[in-house]
């Protein structure tokens, strides 16, 4: 077995793979796209929903490729999936907060415990829907990456991502009114230290079609 495996590269790939599945799942669970465009698949031994629309999958792939590079450089603190109402105000924010990478030797040689943790995250994302209020109609979504200026500058100027440019986020989209925090899950696996929670705007007024 090759012992010279770059742990940062491996953990960034694992995070990228997990993030991709999570984004598809949030899009399905929060009804941001019609349920008919999703297909049921299996990941980490749990059923997940993946979008079939080529532009959506292409967009998510480009986001994930970019995030993977930034995570590998070690400059990311958070990745957030922000749901915006029709007026472009944030109403929900799924936060993937990353801890500092550990240098300690992991006893989880075959990553079984890491897989268990990721399975837990996916299951929690599946039930998060029941903990949140319904979204207003015609919502959109964006991805925000919280990083250091040096990492952002280095990434924005990289030639490999010229066709998928990143810009500083609009301040209006990064500030939420009266946020309510819904913690979902934490993992302290040395390979991937991560915390997942949802911030829900207290001003989300739509209470569903039956009310």
């Amino acid at each position: 077995m090759d012992t010279n495996v770059n742990v940062t590269q491996v953990s960034s790939s694992i995070f990228a793979e997990f993030l991709e599945v999570s984004l598809h799942l949030i899009l399905y669970n929060r009804g941001l796209y019609p349920a008919g465009v999703f297909e049921r698949r299996r990941k980490y031994n749990v059923p997940v929903q993946m979008c079939l629309h080529p532009e959506v999958t292409g967009y998510i792939t480009k986001v994930i490729d970019s995030v993977k590079v930034m995570v590998a450089s070690g400059g990311i603190s958070m990745v957030t999936f922000v749901v915006l109402d029709p007026a472009a105000n944030p109403v929900e924010r799924f936060v993937f907060e990353m801890g500092e990478a550990s240098t300690e030797q992991s006893s989880d040689k075959y990553l079984f415990r890491l897989e268990d943790a990721l399975r837990g995250f996916i299951l929690k994302l599946n039930v998060a829907d029941s903990l949140l209020k319904p979204l207003p109609p015609n919502c959109t979504w964006v991805i925000h990456v919280h990083t250091k200026e040096s990492t952002a500058d280095e990434f924005i100027q990289a030639r490999s991502f010229q066709d998928f440019a990143w810009v500083p986020a609009d301040r209006r989209q990064t500030c939420m009114d009266d946020p309510v925090l819904v913690p979902l899950k934490t993992s302290d696996n040395p390979m991937l230290k991560m915390q997942l929670y949802v911030e829900e705007s207290g001003r989300k007024c739509y209470s569903g079609p039956n009310d």
């Binding site: 019609p34 629309h53 532009e55 603190s77 919502c139 959109t140 925000h144 990083t147 998928f164 810009v167």
Partner: protein, 45 residues
Amino acid sequence: EPALKYAITGDQSVIITPCNLPPSFKTVENWNICRKVYQNAKIQA
């Protein structure tokens, strides 16, 4: 010079986002309707 800039101002936190927006609900919904029409036509043919 970036290194000089960060030495003077500090390496501040920043939030970045893709310049392109994801496809809208309407675009995806229309695609899904067309897909279903195409699949039905293929079955009937």
